[in-house]
């Protein structure tokens, strides 16, 4: 007589699949906004949020909270008298807290550990990639001066944060 106890048939994929992040909050600068998921442009740049009040998560990269470097970008500057999400990003200090929340309501907290300014054409490996086994979330917005010909700001401000343990 055989008794089958086929637990694996009913089993769903047991891996905790991380869903896309939906909301970004930075309390100190009153940011509480929706996160769009973006890809790259044809020219190979990370895409930007469609709504300037939103921010955008680079969906081909790391999920916020996972090991690696997750990247979220937001606009800087006003349009039709409306603010962009990251207008005040430059006021953040080391130690400030940033949180993301996904569809399941999982909230992940991060702490600002470094602030850097890059040229807009600089190599971005440091921002998009890490292999130290830790979880990072890096926030990008524009900085520097506006170049009318390039229709681009000269610099990018990057806030480096580490997942809060």
């Amino acid at each position: 007589m055989t008794v089958t106890n086929d637990q694996s048939k009913n089993q769903i994929i047991e891996q905790a699949i991380l869903s896309s992040p939906l909301r970004l909050k930075i309390e100190r600068i009153k940011v509480d906004t929706h996160i769009e998921s973006v890809n790259t442009t044809q020219a190979g740049a990370m895409e930007v949020p469609k709504d300037i009040k939103n921010v955008a998560w680079y969906e081909l990269g790391t999920h916020p909270g996972d090991v690696g470097s997750a990247v979220i970008a937001g606009h800087y500057g006003w349009k039709n008298s409306k603010e962009s999400a990251f207008d005040k990003l430059y006021t953040l200090h080391k130690g400030d807290k940033v949180t993301t929340e996904n569809k399941e309501g999982v909230i992940t907290s991060f702490i600002v550990v470094d602030i850097k300014i890059f040229d807009s054409s600089a190599n971005t490996k440091e921002v998009f990639y890490s292999n130290d086994g830790k979880s990072h979330l890096n926030l990008i917005t524009c900085n520097g001066t506006w170049n009318k010909l390039d229709k681009n700001y000269s610099k990018r401000l990057v806030i480096f944060t580490d997942k809060e343990l």
């Binding site: 055989t2 008794v3 089958t4 106890n5 637990q7 694996s8 048939k9 089993q11 994929i13 047991e14 891996q15 905790a16 699949i17 991380l18 973006v38 790259t40 020219a43 190979g44 990370m46 930007v48 300037i52 955008a56 680079y58 990269g61 790391t62 999920h63 996972d66 090991v67 690696g68 970008a73 937001g74 606009h75 800087y76 500057g77 006003w78 349009k79 039709n80 008298s81 962009s84 990251f86 207008d87 890059f118 807009s120 600089a122 190599n123 971005t124 490996k125 921002v127 998009f128 990639y129 292999n131 990008i140 917005t141 524009c142 506006w146 009318k148 229709k151 681009n152 700001y153 990018r156």
Partner: protein
């Protein structure tokens, strides 16, 4: 598909992956790896060189034989089975040993283990993982004191000085490991303990005794009038005695055993190409009867290590326990892997569960061919700046303009401040 096998009760339970669980479990101490088929070998080598009267109490493995055969008892001699499997097991054991975290790091350079005082009392060591960036030399007396696992891990050679003696107080040769990255040379008249794993080669000097194993499956072992005794380290567990109830036939209750496993890969994706992934497994017992002989098999990760969870140290997965395992591997392409766990209950029935994970590798790598090499190019910065207009300057730029030319800014341009 699970089959439940009814077995006779006269079964000797052996601890396989659980060989590290004999005795008390301290999740923070190093663990002795399972040597499997390599455990019976006193010498494991590609070429075994010997022209002397040498005694090996244990199996002797080689593809190129010694000119003079050693004395002693060897069930397996040469390259017949399980020689090849023992070689693989040597590799797995070395991987497991190398994953143990260093509990002490010596200063840079070669280390004289007998005279060093930076680790503690000169010449005395307690269980732990001792790591150096240079060669290690047992240059004199050495005492290994305390029951537990010792791992000596020099990035460099391992040597002893003539006449050096290792003494064990409370330690056991079964739990002592030497894993140098360069060759091992033990000098003459040394008394040595433990398992040396060293594919760069192991040379044992005249009249030296080794209570342990010289494992160099990919290299040469050379002996000279030595005695090597492989320790017997497996602990058979006798099946529990079931006494029949008074006046009747004892019968086992028909309880269906149960087991459950979950798996999480960290990271869950490697967007920029190949990298290291660690799978963490949690095995629980949702049934009503403790489970033994827990075996784990992952089809894409071969070195599953038990981390913690046997709270009462009885080597059984009790219904209140969660056993944690991990396995680390390097993935170079998108990989789906399946881990299978099997356990057996006291009534001889088995239960199995599986968990699947997929790690996506290299989705967003943008590579630029450059002659014969490819360069990974990361996405360039997003263009997140909005062109400043005369009516819509963000406050920071307004402030700069205010500071530099106060008199030229009209009040009307500051209307946004009313918000």
């Amino acid at each position: 598909m699970i089959k439940i096998n009814k077995k006779s009760l006269g079964v000797i339970f052996s601890i396989s992956i659980l060989s590290t669980l004999s005795g008390s479990i301290n999740a923070s101490a190093a663990s002795t790896p399972d040597l499997s088929f390599a455990s019976t070998y006193g010498i494991l080598s590609s070429t075994y060189t010997n022209t002397s009267v040498t005694t090996i109490n244990g199996d002797v493995g080689f593809t190129t034989p010694p000119a003079t055969a050693p004395l002693g008892t060897h069930t397996n001699y040469g390259s017949g089975a399980p020689y090849a499997t023992a070689g693989t097991n040597q590799g797995s054991a070395l991987s497991a040993l190398n994953l143990e975290n260093c509990t002490f790091n010596f200063a840079a350079g070669p280390i004289n283990l007998s005279t060093d005082t930076t680790h503690g009392t000169a010449g005395t060591y307690s269980p732990g993982v001792y790591c150096s960036t240079g060669a290690m030399d047992v240059a004199g007396p050495l005492t290994l004191s305390g029951n537990g696992t010792y791992i000596f891990r020099p990035v460099g050679a391992l040597t002893s000085t003539a006449g050096a003696t290792i003494t064990l107080t409370g330690a056991n040769a079964c739990n002592i490991f030497w894993t140098p990255t360069q060759a091992t040379t033990l000098a003459a008249n040394t008394t040595f303990f433990g398992t040396i794993i060293d594919n760069a080669g192991i040379t044992i000097g005249a009249n030296t005794t080794l209570s342990g194993r010289a494992l160099a499956f990919g290299g040469t072992v050379t002996t000279d009038t030595n005695t090597i005794t492989a320790p017997t380290c497996t602990t058979p567990v006798v099946a529990p005695v079931i006494t029949p109830s008074m006046g009747g036939i004892y019968s086992m209750p028909w309880v269906t055993p149960s087991i459950h496993i979950t798996k999480i890969a960290t990271p869950s994706s490697l967007p920029f190409g190949p990298g290291t992934v660690t799978y963490n497994y949690v095995v629980t017992n949702p049934g009503t009867i403790p489970m033994s002989k827990i075996t784990m098999r992952d089809d894409k990760c071969s070195n599953i290590i038990f981390a913690s969870g046997d709270s009462n140290s009885d080597s059984k997965l009790d219904i209140t326990e969660s056993w944690n395992y991990s396995c680390t591997t390097t993935l170079s392409q998108t990989t789906t892997n399946i881990v299978t766990v099997t356990g057996e209950s006291i009534n001889g029935l088995t239960a199995t569960d599986r968990a699947t994970a997929t790690v996506i590798v290299g989705v967003s790598v943008i590579t630029v061919p450059n002659n014969s090499t490819t360069t990974t190019v990361f996405p360039s910065f997003p263009n997140t700046g909005l062109p400043p207009t005369t009516n819509n300057y963000p406050l920071v730029i307004i402030s700069l303009i205010l500071l530099t030319s106060l008199s030229t800014i009209k009040i009307s341009k500051l209307h946004y401040l009313k918000k």
